[in-house]
Symmetry: C2
Subunit: 195 residues, 2 copies
DNA sequence: ACCCTATCTGAACACATGTTCAGATAGAAG
DNA sequence: CTTCTATCTGAACATGTGTTCAGATAGGGT
């Protein structure tokens, strides 16, 4: 073992992100040292600086990749015809995607305060863009008479909080499958928007 | 100023907790040093150890006080007659209480991973006790035929996540008052449990 | 007026932190 | 086989960390 030098840029880069992701998720950004990340990759701490200018940029990179990937994944989804079908599609997509990437989701919600103001603003913009997809579905549904709700923006925040909350308790191999959970949540979402 | 010694145990203690609470909420437990907390109180770092055996116990103390106070506050609330009225009461209580203590709530949700296993288990027990109050209301309502829902436990988690989510976006002085927000959320909760 | 003791200071301890960089090294290119 | 350069090591830097403790100090009790 102990590959000590050579060209591994395209291998070490992802491995650093993977290690940082899992360590940040488990212990928190501030509680994880660059030496711990390096140790998980099997490299010295100095080597990390071939891949990130500093620790904060590493965190930002992880968050930005997550948000970009999430937005891209949603863009790649089909668009059902009716507001009701669109809302169901969003609900199931959100739960499936978030259960698939618990570490990314955890970090993106918990480590915002460790971002510099500019980096924070950038992530918030992406998050807002994602929320707006749901708000758009709700607004369309209200105009079409399919939904009855007091405030599209507040309903958006409430629904997303409810759906993302699945990550706090769901564990694979538990009493219910991810699909069964999604069906139960869809039932609640559907009723809460007055459909 | 610069009181340098003397008997201030009953004044310094709360001031340390207040400073720690606000600093932990703003920057995170791991990112805040004992010297920062001491500085906010106007005291040297060593003096903190007259009030806590170590940093971790300080965090645990804050969390435990929060959960104890929350459970006590709910116990002090009246118990309406019907399941529907009880659920509305819980919804409004939860939002009001959580909007009143944003720092405590934030820490209790975000800093769990910085607790030792025993301390974590203790807080989780208290949290579960609080959740069980809501689950009890839902189960009673189902038995009484007032609610229609697939799974009382999952509905409990969904409702609590939705309600607690208010803290992520609500700011005093915004578009809506806390009472108006609570009314909108109560509408969603009521419909999502099939009442 | 005096002492007593709870409270706080200030310095020290051993170790961890993020980051830098000269020099070693290994794989690719010729 | 030689050269080149991207990649990594290992040590160093300045600063910060939680925690301890002998000694100073101030307010309360007598």
């Amino acid at each position: 073992m102990a590959r000590t030098a050579g060209s591994h840029s395209d291998i070490t880069g992802p491995r650093i992100r993977d290690a940082a992701l899992s360590l940040f998720a488990r212990h928190g950004f501030a509680a994880v040292s660059m030496r711990q990340i390096a140790g998980a990759v099997g490299v010295q701490a100095g080597a990390l600086y071939n891949y990130t200018p500093d620790k904060q940029s590493l965190l930002f990179d992880l968050m930005q990749r997550h948000m970009d990937h999430l937005l891209q994944a949603w863009d790649d989804e089909p668009t059902p015809a009716t507001p009701l079908a669109r809302l169901e599609h969003f609900t199931r997509f959100h739960i499936r995607y978030h259960l698939d990437k618990p570490d990314e989701v955890f970090i993106a919600y918990m480590e915002l305060r460790n971002l510099s103001p500019e980096n924070f603003a950038a992530i918030e913009t992406l998050r807002r863009r994602y929320e707006d997809h749901l708000e758009g579905i709700l607004s369309q549904g209200v105009r079409a008479g399919a939904f009855q709700l007091a405030d599209a923006r507040i309903t958006t925040m409430a629904v997303i909080a409810m759906l993302t909350g699945v990550n706090t308790w769901y564990r694979p191999g538990g009493r219910l499958s991810a699909d069964e959970v999604a069906t139960i949540y869809w039932d609640m979402v559907r009723r809460s928007v007055g459909a």
